[in-house]
């Protein structure tokens, strides 16, 4: 940073006659007048000399309050203890009320009290930024916020979603009249989190900003302040959340993708029944998230050969889907690269040079003031576009693979004799516990 030459403190003459004071006044006024009219041509470090005060005046101190958010150490403690408590409530106590109270606590603490930042959902971006850019330092808090919920998911399922995540908590709090979403719709919409995750990772890798934070619908509610469009988005999500429980978690949350994978492998997981399932059917409609898998019918609807043939066809479809994804990615080169501010600026500057815009905007004015040659900006923008060119293909291939996996997962018939929570999508919210008539 540019440091300014500063005259030493003190040294103000303690005495001075009235006449010298008057003389100084006239001189100062003259200097001021001179610069007021010709000021823009002067390029001195300081236009006006620092005055020497006759009255022994010393200037007041500058108020530099320290960061108020210094409770980050506590955040780690609270995160780990709420995760532990949530695991105990879900796996041992099995009481919806306790889980819900912990959810409310998390909403108030992580959301309204700590203003929803940094959260685990957003921490994915910091981790990606840390991996891509060796100079990007990731603080310990963020590392813990990223890894702790995943480790807990590997051990106990998605207890983080159940009672710790503030974004999940606020949706859980408004979900008063949940309706069932048709499973087919649910399956289709559940591709979006993968797309969102892929886009966010691409954006971070290219240095185009943290889109998960930018489009976080509830952080504005926690802070009681957001842009108009984000208020609308957050408000819509909350209103929708009354009927479609946890719309963000199910159809958008990018961190939920990782939790889903980890939870599928979980060592222990919440069960609907405390002992053995008696197939009474009572819990079947209790889950607003379509996360209860019904027992498979005793007679198989198709022969083994038919199933194998379909699976083979789907596996053959994989390369087609991936190629299709890459193709769609290729089509999206321009809009994707426009996520990056430098590309947008370069296009704006080029447009202005070509006379496409009547006026300059704030960005182009700031760029022109910085005296950077246009060619440098264009070269930088081209390099970024290049990077997006590779990234979008990976993104397309990833989405193709995801769709393929989803198709395979709906086509495979797994033998189940009991009602079981789907380990990947179950949020361990505990709604189904009270529907089970079996006593421990």
């Amino acid at each position: 940073m540019k440091r300014y030459v500063v005259p030493p403190l003190g040294g103000f003459s303690p005495t001075g006659s009235r006449w010298t004071g008057r003389l100084k006044a006239v001189l100062h006024a003259l200097v001021c007048m001179f610069f007021f009219f010709f000021g823009t041509t002067a390029h001195a470090e300081f236009r006006f000399p620092m005055p020497e005060f006759a009255s022994g005046y010393t200037h007041p101190p500058v108020h530099v309050p320290g960061p108020s958010n210094m409770m980050v150490g506590w955040d780690i403690v609270v995160l780990l203890s709420t995760l532990t408590l949530a695991s105990i409530f879900v796996l041992k106590h099995r009481k919806r009320r306790e889980i819900f109270l912990l959810t409310l606590f998390s909403m108030i603490y992580f959301g309204f009290w700590r203003n929803g930042c940094v959260c685990s959902v957003g921490s994915v971006q910091n981790i990606m930024a840390g991996i891509c850019d060796p100079d990007y330092g990731v603080p310990l808090t963020v590392l813990v916020f990223f890894s702790a919920p995943l480790i807990f998911a590997l051990l106990f399922g998605r207890v983080f979603c159940a009672a710790v995540c503030p974004l999940g908590a606020i949706q859980e709090a408004v979900a008063v009249k949940p309706v069932k979403v048709p499973p087919a719709v649910e399956k289709v919409l559940s591709v979006f989190p993968y797309l969102y995750l892929g886009l966010a990772m691409l954006s971070v890798a290219m240095g185009a900003g943290f889109i998960i934070c930018q489009y976080d619908p509830f952080v504005g509610v926690f802070r009681m302040g957001a842009s108009f469009s984000m208020w609308i988005f957050g408000g819509l999500m909350l209103v929708l959340g009354i009927f479609v429980a946890r719309p963000y978690c199910r159809f958008l949350c990018p961190y939920g993708v990782l939790l889903n994978w980890c939870s599928k492998l979980s060592r222990r997981h919440a069960t609907i029944t405390p002992a053995g399932c008696i197939q009474c059917d009572l819990c079947a409609d209790s889950c607003p998230y379509n996360a209860i898998n019904e027992p498979t019918p005793s007679e198989v609807p198709e022969t083994r050969e038919q199933g194998a043939r379909r699976l083979g066809l789907l596996l053959l479809l994989f390369p087609v889907l991936v190629a299709l994804g890459v193709g769609v990615g290729c089509l999206l080169k321009e809009p994707l690269s426009r996520m990056h501010p430098t590309v947008r600026l370069a296009e704006r500057i080029a447009g202005e040079e070509l006379g496409r815009y009547a006026e300059t905007n704030i960005e182009s004015e700031a760029f022109r003031a910085s005296d950077t040659p246009n060619e440098k900006l264009y070269a930088e923008a081209m390099e970024i576009k290049e990077g997006f060119g590779i990234g979008r293909k990976w993104l397309g291939a990833f989405i193709g693979l995801v769709i393929g996996c989803k198709l395979v997962s709906v086509s495979i018939l797994r033998k189940r004799t009991d009602y079981e929570p789907d380990r990947g999508t179950c949020y361990s919210c505990g709604r189904c516990f009270k529907y089970c008539p079996v006593q421990e």
Binding site: M1, K24, A29, F48, Y57, H63, G122, G130, L143, A366
Partner: protein, 185 residues
Amino acid sequence: MNKNTKSGRRDFVRGAAAVLIGGAVLSAGRSRSPRLVWQIDPAKCTQCGRCATHCVLAPSAVKCFHSYSICGYCDLCGGYLRPDAKNRNTGAENQLCPTAALQRKFIEMPYYQYTINEDLCIGCGKCVKGCSVFGNGSLYMQVRHDRCVNCNECAIARACPSDAFKRVPASDPYLLKSDQERRIV
């Protein structure tokens, strides 16, 4: 037997996932940083006015700072008076600041002290522009850390046209223009 091999495979995949998470964390955390907070580099700031409008807080966490030790204490202050001011006095019609947050006090002939009323300042940067165009640049914008909630990605940094926002260590969270300033926390 079948069940055992299945659970063994599951354990293995779980272990692999744990190693993957650990690897991601280690790789991301290889350059550990101290706790960082957002701050404005006054040398880059162009006073576009977005600090007042793009902060997640209302009013913004960015406010004007005054380094007295580089101030000229002018009567004719480019930060205080509108360019088309009729008179050099404290009349509201003469003031550049829309909220009258920049306050003027007579010290001695011909010097006036300019103080920022932090409660009134909205961080619009009008006075900063005036002071840098006609003055020593002793007025400049800074993120006030008693207000800043330190978002993961600062909303103003995203909107800043001159890339003036950067992260600085929380132990030294201000980029004051002068080292000679007496500071109170």
